[in-house]
Amino acid sequence: MASGFLLPDPTDDDAAPFWAGTARGELLVQACARCGQRRLPPRPMCYACRSIEQRWERLSGRGSIWSFIVAHPPLLPAYQELAPYNVVTVVLEESPSLRLVGNLVARPDGPINEVDPKTIRIGEPVKIVFQKVEDIYMPRWMRA
């Protein structure tokens, strides 16, 4: 059933392995099979050595809040119903250059407006959880 949310395409040329990973409850990052350079978002060529060979490595799913916003209307309808809600950018513990955008939630399947925005702090440690939306498992973040 349509959720009204915008969702990734799990068959995306570059990101399909990432979304296959979230479906298994794993956070994967693309890495160059030749030089090992990790890259996020994924792309076809390694910017460090220009190899197109790649592999996917599992990360811990731990990180900290790098920045966040609190979105207010006007927004697309499904999102406007939940406003104000938070959006966070998380820096992953494996590298200061690996970041993911997501939402801070109080429960793995809780709404994106459940955490009081006034309590959110840059630097807070978080850990990844996954929630199924339609046919895709979306990463989300809970306080660690």
Partner: protein, 390 residues
């Protein structure tokens, strides 16, 4: 960075000889193509040229009216150079710079650059017209509710405030300065609406930490300019405004708008653009007394002040204190017609025209004695900038 070889060909070799703009408003009845044709027509008249003199066209990739439509509506002659620049608000100075390069290299003799836009209708906002399923860069941000340009910039703004101690008072400095200039500009959308610090601080949130007044306007309108050789400009109707230096940049590992995935997301495109711009310029930041800085959102101003070298990294917010951006006594009167936040938001092309007016001496907030004017395009996207000289 040493000056490029192109400097010999570009620096002061061309001039903006004519400018034109439609009225700014909401719900204008004319189409974008019609608005574009009107602004271009006015720019040609302003220069004292005939439509058949125009043989070059440079436009934004996002423009809805195409070159062929412009040419057969305005009645241009044979067009021998045309091109377009991508990335929305980053393109404005780029179109003028490409026009200057085309004229300087003999590919055409009179080139028009323009932007026409109808954004006041809600359905015309690009972020509201998205597919349910997203690929590419958008899949890493939009599903989580980071939907609008303001959300994307707010994420950087919060981090900037955290790293450098910037506050909402600094952002208010920006909004209030530009509003004061708009209040002096009879063509500005916000000419009759003053803005106090109290109003700013009480405004509704759009995307915390950004409020309503940290955002640009949504405007219908069009603007255009004509570029010819410096020699020819001297014989035309208006005082020539020389294209002194021009640069563009896509910085390393840049991602458009959601630039969160490289080593230092707060080093925006303006840094790389500024290196080339100043390397090719006889003027340096210390020589600049008036600027038109791209202001889709207020935090872009401190980022641009840093990137273009008016202060050190992290000092852009405090730079705005004490009325620094305000005409007439600020150390760098900025967006002297009101900018995107208070004059009109036409993807920054109104900043180009205000730069021209400053160099002609016809701004409604004229900065006395300014030899040059910096004009910049979108920070946060692949960008461009100009140094105009009188």
């Amino acid at each position: 960075m040493p000056p490029s070889e192109a400097v010999k060909l570009i620096k002061d070799r061309t001039a903006i000889a004519g400018i034109g703009q439609t009225m700014f408003g909401k719900g204008l009845p004319d189409s974008e193509l019609s608005l574009a044709c009107q602004a271009i027509s006015m720019a040609i008249d302003d220069a004292g040229l005939k439509p058949s003199d125009v043989d070059g066209l440079v436009m934004f990739s996002m423009e809805n009216g195409r070159e062929v439509e412009i040419a057969r509506n305005v009645g241009l002659g044979d067009v021998t150079y045309f091109g377009e620049i991508g990335y929305g608000g980053g393109a404005g100075c780029g179109t003028v710079g490409h026009a200057a390069m085309a004229v300087a290299t003999g590919q055409c003799e009179a080139a028009v650059a323009w932007r026409a836009r109808k954004r006041s209708a809600k359905a015309s906002r690009p972020w509201a017209n998205v597919d349910h399923r997203l690929g590419g860069a958008q899949q890493w941000s939009r599903p989580f509710g980071l939907l609008r340009p303001v959300d994307e910039i707010a994420m950087l703004a919060r981090r900037y405030m955290h790293e450098f101690g910037a506050t909402r008072d600094h952002l208010a400095n920006v909004a209030i300065a530009f509003r004061k200039h708009a209040n002096r500009n009879p063509h500005a959308t916000m000419r009759d609406k003053p803005l106090s610090r109290e109003q700013y601080l009480a405004a509704r949130w759009i995307s915390e930490p950004l409020c309503l007044f940290d955002n640009c306007l949504e405007t219908d309108g069009a603007l255009a300019c004509v570029v010819v050789s410096a020699e020819r400009a001297k014989d035309l109707k208006q005082k020539p405004v020389y294209v002194h230096s021009f640069a563009q940049s896509i910085p390393q590992q840049h991602q458009v708008m959601t630039n969160y995935f490289n080593d230092d997301p707060l080093l925006g495109p303006s840094y790389a653009c500024a290196k080339r711009l100043w390397a090719n310029s006889d003027f340096q930041p210390k020589d600049v007394r008036v600027a038109q800085l791209y202001d889709a959102f207020s935090p872009l101003i401190p980022l641009s002040l840093e990137g273009y070298g008016f202060c050190k990294r992290g000092e852009g917010a405090t730079y705005t204190d004490g009325g620094a951006l305000e005409w007439p006594d600020g150390r760098l009167p900025t967006n002297t017609a009101g900018g995107g936040m208070s004059e009109a938001y036409v993807h920054g092309f109104n900043l180009v025209l205000e730069g021209v007016r400053q160099m002609r001496g016809t701004s409604t907030s004229q900065v006395g004695g300014a030899e040059c004017c910096l004009v910049t395009s979108g920070e946060g996207v692949p960008t461009s900038a100009l140094v105009l000289r009188r």
